[in-house]
């Protein structure tokens, strides 16, 4: 039962990174100079999906709290600075996107857009740092608490944080090639192809620093999966670049989505059965089974929540289906 919930936790967080990833990517691309109408068009391309994207994060943390209470406390408190940055970013983006068009003055809208840009960068940096931090383990004290937060400040974590920024930027640009009116696509596609190169560079830096880090080498229980991660990401990014070049926006978006989902799944699998690796005494590491709530809680959650999962996915799918296709003059504009 704990394994199922762990898989669900991974699924929800990975889906959040895929969907929230293009929110933040589009947010980062608001820095592009140009007509304010282009910025509004980009935000309204995300439009109907925006509110349904960040809920995956809220649900993931809900699963974390309900099914893995011990992990919830140690993970969030142990990675305090990363989580703080990510949550600040999420809050700024959610407020910025929804409020930016409520004032009429273009100057006020531009100010809100800067809020969205800052929030997108913070959110990507925070989640990237959290994933990197998981991969290099934490100093667990004898009482099971994570000691301090300085363990987070390493070159490897900085590299994974920056790699996440590059990945969401690619994701955002690729999403826009899928959603904007066909005439507006070529410049965005060129931008996306360029961003892929930046993402590859950031990924290479993170890979080298990870291979050089004793802590990462010690924490990884399945080195093969950990080595597979950068290779799979490179493959996905190259596939996306090729598809963008041929104008296959759907394929490119699938590839960049895989690039955002894979880190969560492969990091979870590479650390398995541990989830928080203890850098001091490996035997003190927190395993998934230890972190899980007790049996009655898990089965209660299973009975109450699992039958509703098809409804959750169904209504999300309804949203994607109803608002499929490219935005045009008839699409509602609100953000």
């Amino acid at each position: 039962m704990a394994t199922i919930w762990y898989a669900l936790l991974g699924l929800f967080f990975a889906t959040y990174l895929v969907l929230g990833g293009y929110d933040y990517g589009v947010g980062l691309l608001l820095t592009r100079p140009g007509d304010p109408r282009d910025r509004r068009a980009a935000l309204n391309a995300v439009g109907p999906f925006f509110l349904g994207n960040e809920v995956w994060l809220v649900a993931a943390v809900g699963i974390l709290f309900g099914a893995f209470p011990l992990l919830e406390g140690e993970l969030l408190a142990g990675f305090y600075p990363a989580v703080l940055g990510a949550v600040t970013g999420v809050v700024l983006v959610t407020a910025g996107v929804q409020l930016r068009s409520r004032p009429r003055a273009e100057s006020a809208r531009a100010a809100w857009d800067r809020v969205v840009v800052a929030g997108s960068a913070l959110a990507a940096l925070g989640w990237g740092a959290l994933l990197g931090g998981l991969l290099q383990g934490v100093p667990l004290r004898a009482d099971g608490h994570v000691a301090g937060v300085s363990h987070l400040f390493t070159p490897f974590v900085a590299a994974t944080a920056l790699a996440m920024v590059a990945l969401v930027a690619v994701q955002g640009a690729t999403f826009l090639t899928l959603r904007l009116p066909a005439a507006d696509v070529p410049p965005v596609a060129r931008l996306a192809r360029g961003l892929v190169l930046a993402a590859l560079a950031a990924l290479a830096a993170a890979t080298v620093l990870g291979l050089l880090s004793d802590r990462v080498r010690a924490a990884v229980a399945r080195p093969a999966l950990a080595v597979l991660l950068p290779l799979a990401l490179v493959a996905a990014l190259l596939a996306a670049r090729a598809a963008l070049g041929r104008g296959r926006a759907g394929v490119a978006f699938a590839a960049t989505s895989a690039a955002l989902a894979l880190p969560v799944l492969l990091i979870g699998a590479a650390l398995w059965p541990r989830v928080l690796f203890s850098t001091g005494d490996p035997a003190a590491s927190l395993t998934v089974a230890d972190a899980a709530a007790s049996g009655p809680t898990l089965s209660l959650l299973g009975w109450l929540a699992l039958p509703l999962l098809p409804a959750l996915l169904g209504f999300q799918a309804m949203c994607w289906w109803v608002f499929r296709g490219r935005t045009d003059g008839r699409a509602p504009v609100y953000w």
Binding site: G62, F65, A67, E72, V91, L92, A95, A105, V333
Partner: protein, 418 residues
């Protein structure tokens, strides 16, 4: 700095700001369901325009509800890791349910509702709003189950100092839950009704266009506020006996208080087990405000032949009543939350044992940062709310026909962020 104090201050600040917005969300979505249903059934333009006007205000208000809610959710892990460690097995389940089956769907539905105007069939579009409202109430249900468990832990057994769930139905029949949830719901409806009446009163006082429209929403808002305030008062007083039994140190008589303190001292060692005086003061203020709002019942006869509008001064009363339900709500939470100190879970886990072992400096940075951030966003949100309320129902942003972008930028100078 003492991490416990900062963690408590941060929780109080975030919860209070969050509650100010969710009250309006819950109150307005209920009224909005009524308005859109009336539009779909009668086909009258008045109801469509009211739906668009109040829908715009509702969606603006919703933004900060989410933003503060996200911080709330993460705060449990960031600052209160002891809570998840010792009682997470029980307390975590209703919170997980809230995020999965309530909030997840609520936001998904709302996104489709906002962008579904002119695109979805009327019945489907209305059904989405019903979905938003039902899931909003489901949120209240699960959050109140979780909070009530902290007020009065039931249905669990302790093994090695960790609480394990034994009887989930006990959580749902918790005496601190069954009555309190109605109190909260009617408090939200009182807030929504007051806000609707006050915004309408402002337009009627200023003699803006759309007299008929705001007359209608005044006649919806005022009775909603009065009837809901009656029930909120009723369910407020109805809690007293249950709370006195479940939490003797909050509302019990002197004898019960002394017995509870003796019991806690025997089990947990000596300490200060009586809540701060703030809780009692907050309760008195809340009750006073409750009766004050209820006095609006005297205004109901004036709805006859529009005397309410013609006399004008009752409109001023409604306008100046806006802060009252919000102050009462904050006082209500102070009563409930400060009143159970020093406990995080009453009689089971003290707040000082629940706080994360995080350095005081890190926590202070988080507290100051988030308070400043959420405070600033809240003020910006209210300014936008007020401006859109004042702008009137001529062309609200929600439900505007595609292409008719009257909201396009103009060149008039306007202050930053507003």
């Amino acid at each position: 700095m003492d991490p416990l104090l900062i963690a408590r201050l941060q929780f109080a600040t975030t919860t209070s700001i969050h509650f100010l917005f969710v009250l309006v969300t819950l109150g307005l979505v209920t009224l909005l369901v009524g308005l859109q249903t009336a539009w779909v059934i009668t086909g009258k333009q008045t109801y469509q325009r009211l739906t668009r006007f109040w829908g715009t205000l509702y969606v603006i208000n919703y933004v900060l509800g989410i933003a503060t809610g996200i911080v709330m959710e993460f705060q449990f892990g960031l600052n209160w890791s002891g809570l998840s460690r010792y009682v997470g097995n029980v307390f975590g389940a209703p919170l997980a349910m809230e995020t999965l089956v309530a909030f997840f769907l609520e936001s998904t539905f709302l996104g489709m509702w906002i962008f579904g105007w002119h695109r979805l069939r009327r019945g489907v579009h209305l059904a989405l709003l019903y979905g938003v409202a039902i899931t909003a109430y489901a949120s209240v249900f699960w959050i109140m189950v979780a909070n009530s468990w902290l007020q009065h832990p039931v249905g669990y057994e302790l093994r090695d100092g960790v609480a394990h769930l034994t009887d989930f139905s006990a959580l749902l029949s918790n005496p601190t839950f069954t009555v309190a949830i109605w109190h909260v719901i009617f408090a939200a409806l009182t807030t929504g009704g007051t806000l609707m009446a006050a915004v309408s009163a402002w337009h009627l006082l200023r003699r803006t266009t759309d007299h008929q429209l705001f007359r209608t929403s005044l006649r919806i808002g005022l009775p909603t506020a009065v009837v809901s305030a009656t029930f909120a008062l009723w369910f407020g007083f109805a809690q007293e006996d249950g709370v006195a039994l479940a939490q003797p140190t909050k509302l019990g008589d002197e004898q019960a208080k002394a017995a509870a303190v003796a019991d806690f001292t025997a089990r947990f060692g000596p300490g200060d087990y009586l809540p701060p005086a703030l809780a009692g003061t907050a309760m008195e203020i809340m009750i006073m405000i409750g009766f004050t709002i209820w006095c609006a019942v005297l205004l109901l006869p004036l709805l006859y032949r529009d005397w309410l509008i013609r006399l004008r001064f009752p409109l001023y009363l409604l306008l100046f009543a806006v802060p009252l339900p919000f102050i009462a709500a904050i006082c209500g939470w102070l009563t409930r939350e400060v009143g159970r100190q020093p406990w995080a879970a009453y009689g089971l886990l003290q707040a000082r044992d629940a706080v994360s072992p995080v350095d005081g400096g890190v926590m202070l940075a988080s507290f100051l940062g988030f308070s400043l951030l959420l405070g600033t966003l809240a003020v910006a949100n209210w300014v936008l709310f007020a401006r859109h309320a004042a702008r009137g129902a001529a062309d609200p942003a929600i439900g505007r026909a595609p292409g008719a972008d009257a909201d396009r930028s103009d060149t008039r100078p306007e202050s930053l962020f507003a």
